[in-house]
C-alpha cells in the first residue's frame, strides 16, 4: 500500500511492471527434441560402454582368494568346541592350507569376513556410546543407556567399551605363513595398523586422557565387555599405542557393516624381503586363533586375500552393470530413433 500511495492518479493501484511480477522473467525453455535427445542417448551409451570396458580391464588385473574357514581344515574341531558354552573360554588354534597359483602383485589386503551377522540391526547399531569412545570420562564411568544391557557388568561396574557392538567384537586372529619353494615356513608380515578411516582413528575414537596415568589406570574401575577375553587396554600386546579405544581392530569392528554379509580389513601385506612385489605363488597356511562362535546364528567365517586397483577390490558388478546399461541405452536409443523416424508427428495437432 505504501508504494501505491506514491503514485497518485488513475494508475495508483496499477501493479508494477516488473518482469517478475508479470511472469515475464527471461527463461530458458528446454524441449526434448530429437536433435538433443537422440544424440544424448547415443553419447550416454558410448560413455557407459567405455567406462564399462575400462573398469572391466582394470578389474581383471586384480586377484582374490576367498577361504571359508568355518569348518575347513582343522577348524572343524574348533567349530565343534565353540558350540559348547562350557568350553567357550578355552582357546583353540586351527590351520587352513591353501595354494596361490599366480602371484599377487602389488598391495595385498587381508580381510576377515562374516556371513549372516547382522551388524545393521537398529538396536545393535544404537547400542554404543560415542561419548565414551571419544574419551569422555563421564561416559566412561556412566555409559549411555543405549548400551543396555551391556552397560554394566554383574558387579555394577561400567563396561568399557559398552554396548552390543563392542561386546560382539570379532576376536579371531590370524597368522599367514608362506611355504616357499624350499618348503620352509615364512611368516607373511602383515601391517595391522592404518586399516581405518583417518577420522575414526584421529577424531572419533580417543582414549580418555588423564595426566601421567597409564592406560590401565585410566580404565580402572571399568569392566571389560562380557565376551571379551582381554580388557580394552590390552588389545594389542605388541604396540602399546594401539590400545584402548584407538585400537585399529576395534575401530574397524565398530564401523558397522550395512549388510549381514561383510568383510573387514584385518591387515595389509608389508613389503618385506620375499614379499616386496606382493605374494609369490605357492602354498600358504593360516593359523587361526578360533574364538568367535558363529554357529549360534548359522553364520560363516572366511578370510579374503585380494589385490586392489584404484576403485577397490575384485568387483565385477560395476563394469558389468555399466556394460549392460550401455547396451540397454543403445537399444533404447535405436528404438527411439526408429519410432521417431517412422511415426513422429511434427506438429500436426496444431491444425486441429
Amino acid at each position: 500500500m505504501g508504494r501505491a500511495k506514491r503514485k497518485p492518479g488513475p494508475l495508483a493501484r496499477r501493479p508494477d511492471n516488473s518482469a517478475f511480477k508479470q511472469q515475464r522473467l527471461p527463461a530458458w525453455s528446454p524441449m526434448l527434441t530429437a536433435n538433443t535427445v537422440l544424440p544424448f542417448f547415443y553419447f550416454m551409451a558410448l560413455i557407459c560402454m567405455l567406462l564399462g570396458v575400462w573398469l572391466l580391464l582394470t578389474v581383471q588385473g586384480t586377484q582374490e582368494i576367498k577361504l571359508d574357514y568355518t569348518e575347513a581344515g582343522t577348524c572343524d574341531k574348533c567349530f565343534e568346541k565353540r558350540k559348547n558354552v562350557s568350553s567357550a573360554a578355552e582357546s583353540c588354534i586351527c590351520k587352513v592350507v591353501f595354494l596361490v597359483e599366480k602371484p599377487f602383485k602389488g598391495d595385498v589386503f587381508f580381510y576377515y569376513g562374516l556371513q549372516n551377522f547382522h551388524q545393521n540391526l537398529r538396536r545393535y547399531m544404537d547400542s554404543r556410546d560415542d561419548g565414551q569412545l571419544v574419551g569422555r570420562k563421564s561416559n566412561l564411568k556412566e555409559p549411555s543407556s543405549y548400551c543396555e544391557p551391556f552397560a554394566k557388568d554383574q558387579n555394577g561396574l561400567p563396561i568399557a567399551p559398552c554396548g552390543a557392538v563392542a561386546n560382539s567384537f570379532f576376536n579371531d586372529s590370524f597368522t599367514l605363513t608362506y611355504y616357499g619353494s624350499s618348503g620352509d615356513p615364512v611368516k607373511v608380515p602383515l601391517l595391522r595398523t592404518g586399516i581405518t578411516w583417518y577420522t575414526d582413528k584421529n577424531v572419533k575414537y580417543r582414549n580418555p586422557q588423564i595426566d601421567n596415568l597409564t592406560l590401565a589406570q585410566v580404565f580402572e574401575g571399568t569392566a571389560k565387555p562380557l565376551y571379551w577375553k582381554k580388557p580394552v587396554y590390552e588389545l594389542d600386546p605388541l604396540d602399546p599405542t594401539n590400545n584402548g579405544f584407538i585400537n585399529d581392530d576395534l575401530i574397524v569392528w565398530m564401523r558397522e557393516a550395512a549388510f549381514p554379509n561383510f568383510k573387514k580389513l584385518y591387515g595389509v601385506l608389508y613389503h618385506d624381503k620375499l614379499f616386496t612385489d606382493g605374494l609369490p605363488a605357492g602354498n600358504y597356511s593360516i593359523d587361526i586363533s578360533y574364538n568367535f562362535p558363529v554357529q549360534y546364528f548359522q553364520g560363516r567365517k572366511e578370510v579374503v586375500l585380494t589385490t586392489l586397483t584404484w576403485f577397490g577390490g575384485q568387483n565385477y558388478f560395476l563394469p558389468i552393470a555399466y556394460l549392460v546399461t550401455s547396451s540397454l541405452i543403445l537399444l533404447i536409443a535405436v528404438i527411439l530413433t526408429v519410432a521417431w523416424w517412422k511415426f513422429g508427428k511434427k506438429g500436426k495437432n496444431m491444425e486441429e
Partner: protein, 1164 residues
C-alpha cells in the same frame, strides 16, 4: 472461538429498551457497542492458536508420530526429524494468524474508537462508539456511519424522513428512505429528546435485514415500529443534515454483525483428490508396516532368536510377535515421510504465489476504475484451470449498465450513424436534424417531458439527473443535447428549456411504468393550454395503440426498429395524443375513482391508463445501446472455444437478455435453433424441454411425438448448435426434483443458455444443479448483491469490483473490474496454476516415494529392525531443505507455453477440464516411478558397495558409507528429475536447483565435521563420512550408474510421448508460428428482435406526484460522488473468512459509477 469460554446469558425472548435510562437498561446486560472480531489476545494466542492448529488432521497426525518417537522401544528416528518440520509449519501458520489478528485488532480499535454524539443528560457529548449503550439517544450527521441499530426518532428533514445508503449491508447502492415514528418527530426541537422516556419492546437480535417488529410505549400510547423506522449499523446517512435515534441493538447484536457468518470454505477438486490420495498413502503405509512387521516376526523367530547372545531383546519384549508389533510402529515412523508435512505447506505456498501473480497482473488492471484484480481466496487457483461452466450475470458484468442514445427514427426518417459511442454523452456524434421540424421538436419534447427523472442544480450550475433506470437517463440526456433540456420539476409542473427558452408545463398525470404495461405516459398542459399525452413504450405494445392513420409511418418505423434491434440496440417507440379538455376531465375523474378504490386499485388504475393510451400518433422510435463491457464478445468467443459453456443468468426480461445474448455473440443466427422455454405450468415446461431435446438429438429435425428423455450421455451425438432461453417462472418448474435431469440434459446440450427473470435464489439453484449433475467445475461471475448466492455456491465465485456495491466482490473468491479479464484469469492464470500444481504434486509424491521406499528394501537386509538407511539429519532436512525449493520454484514459476499462446489456442485449456494432468492414474505412475527409483537407489549401491573397498583397502560396505552414497544418489536423481520436469528455467529455478544441490553438500560436510562431533558425539556420529565417502571414485561411479538407470527410462518415455503423441501444448511450445484463431467472431445477420428494455420496477412517478418529493440537497449530492468504502466493514465481513489472505484493499475507493441499481446520475 472465544465465545465458547464465555458464559452465555440465556437467549433473549424480547428486548426492552427505555430511552435515556441507562440504569434501567443495564439490568438486562445487553451487549455493549464494542465489537470484537479478533480471535486472540497476547495471553490466549499461543494456547488457542495451537488448539486450532491441532484440529487439522495433518498436524495431529504428526503430533501422534512425535509421541510415537518418544517411546524408546519404537523410536526408529530421533524426535527432531518430526519436530523440526512440525515446528516450522506450526510457527509459519501462527505468524500468519497473528498478523491477520493484528489487523483485526487494529480495525476493531479503529471502529470502536470512532466518535459519535450521544445525548447524555440533555447535552450532546462525544463518545467513542464502544461506549454507546443500548437505550442511548445518538445524533447522526450526514455521511456518517450509523453506529448501532437505532430507532429513528427525529430527522431534520420534512416528514421525519431520512435517507440511507445500505451498500455495506446488502450491496444495494440506491438510497432508501426511513421515516421516524410520527409522534417522536413532532417535538420539532431535538432538545426535547433529552426528556424522551419512551420504552421500546421488540424482537431479540436476529440477522433479518429487512424485518423489524417492535412497539414503542410512550405517554401511555402504543406505536408500532417496523423496519421503516430503523437505521442499521453499517448504513450511511445521506442527504439528511442530522437525525436522532435510539440505540436498540449494539455491537454484536446488530444485524450487520449477526449477518457476518462463517463463510463456506471452498475446496478444490485437487484438494479433495489429494486428501483421498493421502488416505490411500496411509493405507499403503499401513500395508508396508504390516509386511515389514510380518517380516520382522519371521526374522526374529528364525534368526533373531539365535542372535540373542549378541543382541538380547529389549526387556518388555518376550516373544517375536511383540517385537513385530513394535517393529510395525517403528516402520510407521520411518515410512511416514511418504506423506510429509511439508506437502500441505508447499501447496499453500504455491497457491499464495499464484494469487500474488493474479494480484500483480497488469493486464488485469483496469485503469478506468483503478482496480487491479484481486485473488481474495488463495486456495482455489488451480481450479481456475478446470472450469467448464461459467454462470454470468448480465447487467454490470456483461454490460456496463451504461445506456447511450444511439439512433432514432423521427417521422419515418432515421438518424444517427455512429454505432460505437464511447461515452454516454452523445455530443460527439453528428446528427443532422432538420432544424425547426415540428416532428423533431415534438420528439425531443416528449423525451424531455415523459420520464420520472429528477434533477438537481448543483452549486456550480451543473444539472444532475437522477434517473430510476439508466435508459431514462440516457433519453433525457439525449434530449438535453438536442436542445430540450429538462430543468426541474415540482409535483405539478415540469420546466424544460426548449432551444434556450424556458417553458413550464403543467403536469396533470404520470401514468407510470410497470412490467405489464411496458410503457409510461405523462399528461401535460402546455403554456398555451393544450393538453397532450406523451407516451413511450415497447414497440410491441405501443404500435397496437396507434391511431389507424399511422399505418404507413408505422411500417417505416417498424422497419427501422428491426434495423436497430439487429444492431443489438434497445428500442422504444414514442407517441403522443392530443386530449380535449372534456376528455381530460372525464378521464381524470375516473382516474380519481380508481385511485381511491380500496380493492384491486392496481388493476383499476391500469384499466384507466389503458383507456386513455389509445389512438395515439406515432412520433418515432429511439434506439439505445446497452453498452457491453469492453471485449465481452471476444472473451465469450475465446472461452467457448476453450470448451467452456457460458450461461447467462439475469434478472432482466427475456427480450433484453436475448438481445444481449446476440450482441455479445453468445447467440448467433448460425445457430440451428434457439429454444425458448417460457411455459407457466409443469406440463408445458416439460413438454417444451422434451421437444427441445428430441429436436437436438435428431439433428434439427423436429419430432412431433415426445419421447422420454434419453440419458445424458447421448448428448455427444448432437449435431448443430443450439441455445436455450428459459424464463424464471419456467425455471422454477424445471428446477423441481423430477424435472431437473431433463433440464440439465437439454441445457447441457446447448452451446449457450440464457436464464432470464431469475431470482437470486434461482441463480444459486441453477449453479447447485450443475454442480450436482455434472462433475464439472463451475464459476459464477457477477457484480451485484443478487449474485452473491450464486457466487457463494459455485466452485469459484468472481466478483466484478469497482463499479457496483462491494457485496459481490466481498463474497467472491476473485475480483476484478472487467468481464474480459476472465479469459486471462482462466486461460492464463488458471491454466498455469493447474499445470503447476499438477506437476508439483506428481513430483512431490515421486520424490517422497523414492526417498522413503529405500527403507522398505533395506528392511529385508537388516532383519526388519526399522534401521534407517540415511542419517537422521538427512531425513529431517530432505523435505524441507534439500528438495523443497526446486519443486516450489517449479510450482510457482513454471510455464509450458507463454501467456499469449494460451489465449491464441484456447484448446490448450482442455486438459484441465478433463483432469488429465493429475488424476489417480497419473498418481500411480508417479508412485511407480518413485518405487522404481527407490529400487535402483537401494540395489545399485548395495551390489556395488558390498564388495567394493576404498583404495586404502577399507571396505565400503559400512552403513555410513552406504547411507551417504544412497542419500547423495537420491538427491542427485531427484534434482535431475526436477530439472527434467521444469519447463521454464528462470534465474530463480537455476538458483533453487543448484542451490539445493549445493546446500546438500555443504550441509552434509558441516554435519559430518569434527567441530559438531566434538560437541555432541552421539548426535553427530557420522563424522568424517562425507569426506571419506565422497572422495571415492567408486562411490561416484555408483551414483552415476544409479542416476543413469533412473533417468534414462523416464527420458525415453517422455521423448516417445512427445514424438508420437504430443500434447497440443508441446506442439505449441515447439512451433512458434502464430495462428491467430478466427473463432466465431463473424458478423451476424439481422433478425428481428424487439428490444424494449426499461426499468424492472416502477419509477418515481408516485413519489413525484404525491408531493413527497425527495429532497436532494446539493451538499449531499456533492458528497454522493465520493463515497467512502470503509475498510473496517470489509475486515468484518472477512472475519470468519480465515483462509483469505489478501489484505483489505479498499480505502478511498471511488465507488461512483453508473450503477445498475435504481438510481443514476448524469452530470451535465
Amino acid at each position: 472461538r472465544l465465545e465458547m469460554f464465555r458464559k452465555r446469558p440465556p437467549p433473549e425472548e424480547e428486548r426492552r429498551v427505555r430511552a435515556n435510562d441507562r440504569e434501567y437498561n443495564e439490568k438486562f446486560q445487553y451487549a455493549s457497542n464494542c465489537i470484537v472480531t479478533s480471535k486472540y489476545n497476547i495471553i490466549t494466542f499461543l494456547p488457542v492458536n495451537l488448539f486450532e492448529q491441532f484440529q487439522e488432521v495433518a498436524n495431529t497426525y504428526f503430533l501422534f508420530l512425535l509421541i510415537l518417537q518418544l517411546i524408546p522401544q519404537i523410536s526408529s528416528l530421533s524426535w527432531f526429524t518430526t519436530i523440526v518440520p512440525l515446528a516450522l509449519v506450526l510457527s509459519i501458520t501462527a505468524v500468519k494468524d497473528a498478523t491477520d489478528d493484528y489487523f483485526r485488532h487494529k480495525s476493531d480499535n479503529q471502529v470502536n474508537n470512532r466518535q459519535s454524539q450521544v445525548l447524555i443528560r440533555g447535552s450532546l457529548q462525544n463518545e467513542k462508539w464502544m461506549n454507546v449503550r443500548v437505550g442511548d439517544i445518538i445524533k447522526l450527521e450526514n455521511n456518517q456511519f450509523v453506529a448501532a441499530d437505532v430507532l429513528l426518532l427525529f430527522s431534520s428533514e420534512p416528514h421525519g424522513l431520512c435517507y440511507i445508503e445500505t451498500a455495506e449491508l446488502d450491496g444495494e447502492t440506491n438510497m432508501k428512505v426511513r421515516q421516524s415514528v410520527s409522534v417522536t418527530s413532532e417535538p420539532g426541537d431535538p432538545n426535547n429528546l433529552a426528556s424522551f422516556d419512551g420504552e421500546v419492546v421488540c424482537e431479540p437480535p436476529n440477522n433479518k435485514l429487512d424485518r423489524f417488529c417492535g412497539t414503542l410505549y410512550w405517554r401511555d400510547k402504543k406505536y408500532t415500529l417496523t423496519n421503516q423506522n430503523m437505521l442499521l449499523r453499517g448504513c450511511v446517512l445521506r442527504n439528511t443534515e442530522a437525525c436522532y435515534g435510539l440505540v436498540i441493538f449494539a455491537g454484536p447484536d446488530t444485524k450487520l454483525m449477526q449477518n457476518s457468518g462463517r463463510t463456506k470454505f471452498k475446496r478444490t477438486s485437487i484438494d479433495r483428490l489429494m486428501n483421498t490420495l493421502v488416505l490411500w498413502i496411509f493405507g499403503f503405509l499401513v500395508c508396508m508396516g504390516v509386511i515389514l512387521a510380518v517380516g520382522n516376526a519371521v526374522w526374529e523367530r528364525e534368526v533373531g532368536s539365535l542372535f540373542q547372545s549378541y543382541l538380547p531383546w529389549d526387556p518388555p519384549v518376550d516373544n517375536f510377535l511383540f517385537s513385530a508389533f513394535l517393529s510395525f510402529w517403528s516402520y510407521v515412523i520411518i515410512l511416514n515421510t511418504v506423506v510429509p508435512i511439508s506437502l500441505y505447506v508447499s501447496v499453500e505456498v504455491i497457491r499464495l504465489g499464484h494469487s500474488y501473480f493474479i494480484n500483480w497482473d497488469q493486464q488485469m488492471f483496469c485503469s478506468q476504475c483503478n482496480t487491479a484484480a484481486a485473488a481474495r481466496t488463495t486456495t482455489l487457483n488451480e481450479e481456475l484451470g478446470q472450469v467448464e461452466y461459467i454462470f454470468s450475470d448480465k447487467t454490470g458484468t456483461l454490460t456496463q449498465n451504461i445506456m447511450s442514445f444511439n439512433k432514432c427514427s423521427i417521422n419515418g426518417q432515421t438518424y444517427g450513424k455512429c454505432t460505437h459511442l464511447t461515452h454516454s454523452h452523445t455530443k460527439s456524434c453528428t446528427y443532422l436534424f432538420k432544424v425547426g421540424d415540428s416532428h423533431t421538436h415534438e420528439f425531443f419534447r416528449l423525451l424531455s417531458l415523459c420520464h420520472t427523472v429528477m434533477s438537481e442544480e448543483k452549486s456550480e450550475g451543473e444539472l444532475v439527473y437522477k434517473a430510476q433506470s439508466p435508459d431514462e437517463g440516457a433519453l433525457v440526456a439525449a434530449a438535453r443535447n438536442f436542445g430540450f433540456m429538462f430543468c426541474s420539476r415540482t409535483p405539478g409542473t415540469i420546466t424544460i428549456r426548449e432551444m434556450g427558452q424556458p417553458v413550464t408545463y403543467t403536469l396533470l398525470a404520470i401514468l407510470d411504468f410497470n412490467n405489464i404495461r411496458k410503457r409510461m405516459s405523462v399528461i401535460v398542459r402546455n403554456p398555451e393550454g393544450r393538453i397532450r399525452l406523451y407516451c413511450k413504450g415497447a414497440d410491441t405494445v405501443l404500435l397496437e395503440r396507434l391511431h389507424p392513420c399511422n399505418q404507413e409511418l408505422m411500417n417505416i418505423t417498424s422497419d427501422h426498429l428491426n434495423e436497430y434491434a439487429a444492431d443489438g440496440l434497445r428500442t422504444l417507440a414514442l407517441a403522443y395524443r392530443d386530449l380535449t379538455e372534456d376528455e381530460w376531465e372525464a378521464w381524470a375523474e375516473s382516474h380519481r375513482c380508481a385511485g381511491k378504490a380500496t380493492s384491486c386499485r392496481e388493476d383499476r388504475l391500469a384499466a384507466t391508463y389503458d383507456q386513455i393510451e389509445q389512438d395515439m400518433m406515432l412520433l418515432g422510435a429511439t434506439a439505445i445501446e446497452d453498452k457491453l463491457q469492453e471485449g465481452v464478445p471476444e472473451t465469450i468467443a475465446i472461452l467457448s472455444l476453450a470448451n467452456i459453456k457460458i450461461w447467462v443468468l439475469t434478472g432482466d426480461k427475456q427480450e433484453t437478455a436475448v438481445n444481449i445474448g446476440y450482441s455479445c455473440k453468445m447467440l448467433t443466427d448460425d445457430m440451428t435453433e434457439v429454444f425458448i422455454i417460457s411455459g407457466h405450468t409443469v406440463q408445458s415446461v416439460r413438454q417444451e424441454l422434451r421437444s427441445a431435446l428430441s429436436f437436438e438429438l435428431n439433428g434439427g429435425v423436429k419430432q412431433l411425438q415426445c419421447s422420454p428423455p434419453p440419458p445424458s450421455n447421448l448428448t455427444d451425438n448432437i449435431s448443430g448448435e443450439f441455445a436455450l432461453v428459459i424464463n424464471g417462472h419456467s425455471l422454477a418448474h424445471a428446477l423441481e426434483a423430477d424435472m431437473e435431469t431433463e433440464f440439465v440434459s437439454t441445457a447441457c446440450a446447448c452451446k449457450a443458455v440464457i436464464c432470464c427473470r431469475v431470482t437470486p435464489l434461482q441463480k444459486a439453484q441453477v449453479v447447485e444443479l450443475i454442480k450436482k449433475h455434472k462433475k464439472a467445475v463451475t464459476l459464477a461471475i457477477g457484480d451485484g448483491a443478487n449474485d452473491v448466492g450464486m457466487i457463494k455456491s459455485a466452485h469459484i465465485g468472481v466478483g466484478i469490483s469497482g463499479q457496483e456495491g462491494i457485496q459481490a466482490a466481498l463474497a467472491s473468491d476473485y475480483s476484478f473490474s472487467q468481464f474480459r479479464f476472465l479469459q486471462r484469469l482462466l486461460l492464463v492464470h488458471g491454466r498455469w496454476s493447474y499445470l503447476r500444481m499438477c506437476r508439483f504434486l506428481c513430483y512431490f509424491f515421486y520424490k517422497n516415494f523414492a526417498f522413503t521406499m529405500v527403507h522398505f528394501w533395506f528392511g529385508f537386509f537388516c532383519g526388519f529392525s526399522a534401521q534407517t538407511v540415511y542419517d537422521q539429519y538427512f531425513i529431517t532436512l530432505y523435505n524441507i531443505v534439500y528438495t523443497s525449493l526446486p519443486v516450489l520454484a517449479m510450482g510457482i514459476f513454471d510455464q509450458d507455453v507463454p501467456d499469449h499462446r494460451s489465449l491464441e489456442y484456447p484448446k490448450l485449456y482442455e486438459p484441465g477440464q478433463l483432469n488429465l494432468l493429475f488424476n489417480k492414474r497419473e498418481f500411480f505412475i508417479c508412485i511407480a516411478q518413485g518405487i522404481y527409483t527407490s529400487v535402483v537407489l537401494f540395489f545399485v549401491p548395495y551390489t556395488v558397495l558390498s564388495d567394493a573397498t576404498q583404495s586404502t583397502g577399507v571396505p565400503l560396505a559400512d552403513h555410513q558409507t552406504f547411507a551417504m552414497t544412497t542419500a547423495t544418489a537420491l538427491v542427485i536423481v531427484v534434482s535431475v528429475q526436477i530439472a527434467l520436469g521444469t519447463g521454464f528455467w528462470t534465474v530463480i529455478n537455476h538458483v533453487c536447483v543448484w542451490g539445493s544441490l549445493g546446500s546438500y553438500f555443504t550441509i552434509m560436510f558441516a554435519l559430518h565435521s569434527q567441530t559438531l562431533f566434538r560437541i555432541f558425539p552421539s548426535q553427530f556420529h557420522f563424522v568424517g563420512s562425507a569426506q571419506s565417502t565422497l572422495l571415492q571414485p567408486v562411490v561416484w561411479l555408483t551414483i552415476a550408474l544409479a542416476t543413469a538407470i533412473c533417468i534414462v527410462p523416464v527420458l525415453a518415455v517422455r521423448f516417445l510421448k512427445l514424438a508420437l503423441r504430443p500434447r497440443l501444448s508441446d506442439t505449441v511450445r515447439k512451433y512458434t508460428k502464430t495462428h491467430v484463431s478466427e473463432g466465431r467472431l463473424g458478423t451476424r445477420g439481422g433478425s428481428r428482435r424487439s428490444g424494449y428494455a426499461f426499468a424492472h420496477q416502477e419509477g418515481f412517478g408516485e413519489l413525484i406526484t404525491s408531493g413527497k418529493n425527495m429532497r436532494l440537497s446539493s451538499l449531499a449530492l456533492a458528497t454522493f460522488a465520493s463515497r467512502h468504502s470503509s475498510s473496517w466493514i470489509d475486515t468484518l465481513r472477512r472475519k470468519k473468512h480465515t483462509h483469505t489472505h489478501t489484505p483489505p484493499s479498499t480505502s478511498e475507493e471511488p465507488l461512483f459509477g453508473l450503477t445498475k441499481g435504481q438510481m443514476m446520475m448524469m452530470y451535465i
